[in-house]
Symmetry: D2
Subunit: 88 residues, 4 copies
């Protein structure tokens, strides 16, 4: 991962951890469940955005160089395995 990507990913991770702490407080204070769920949905969305950043970096580095080095099947199979996992 390039340094600028890592900084950006860690910044998003900070935000996600803070957001999760907010959800903990909501649950401890017995907030209305639909309000809690709206926040957990937002956290999952934030994780997805962080994943997009990581994936974009991976495509520009390991995947691109793997394809240029003739390891096309290896890097593409790995991508498809991730795709299956992301869709469960």
């Amino acid at each position: 991962m390039e340094d600028t990507t890592r900084q950006d990913v860690l910044k998003r991770l900070n935000y996600i951890e803070g957001h999760l702490g907010g959800v903990r407080r909501m649950i401890e204070e017995d907030k209305y469940c639909p309000e809690v769920l709206k926040q957990t949905f937002a956290i999952r969305r934030a994780i997805e955005k962080m994943e997009a950043l990581i994936l974009d970096g991976h495509l520009h580095t390991c995947v691109a160089s793997g394809i240029r080095d003739g390891r096309e099947d290896e890097v593409i199979n790995e991508l498809m395995e991730l795709y299956d996992l992301a869709n469960r």
Copy 2:
């Protein structure tokens, strides 16, 4: 939320926070991106399981009593709003 549900939700939240800390270390140690992504996918799945628990509790308490009290449209519209949000 009932006490047993809240205990269970908080336990899962602890697990999710620990898992997220593991992802932070992976990124700081520059682990291979597909390995990081597999962990963030697992975290999102764990959040979804926690949401299912919260939703199940909500249905058994607020939704059931709302329907019994004649506030059917109110609680169902709220559920459908959550459904749309969950599917973005």
Copy 3:
């Protein structure tokens, strides 16, 4: 399902079938894959909207009457089973 809901669901089904026929033509004519994928994503979204309509109807009829009739656990367990399936 109430009649107005069924009419609406069948109308959406017509649209989805037509859209799928368009995807078939794109594939037969060897259109650019990302363009095909944009259309299949739109079809999945249209199916989700149709599902929301069916779910909304189900909540207002079977779930509401089930809760009023004291079969709360039965109808809620069924909902949670659907929820798990929808999220795989």
Copy 4:
């Protein structure tokens, strides 16, 4: 798209169209909504599998050759745009 991929994609499309016809009959015959929803979930899953096939083909053809030809930014940006769309 290569010929073997296209044949496979069209075969899956046939299956999806048949499955959708089954859902239409269920709705016309007023089947129980949760049963209908289980089928529409299965159809969305079948579309996702078809999409995986199309994506895999795209990665092995256009993306791999684009990266070899120095059009890395173009093909990766297009992939990330698809990724965002798939996650809405």
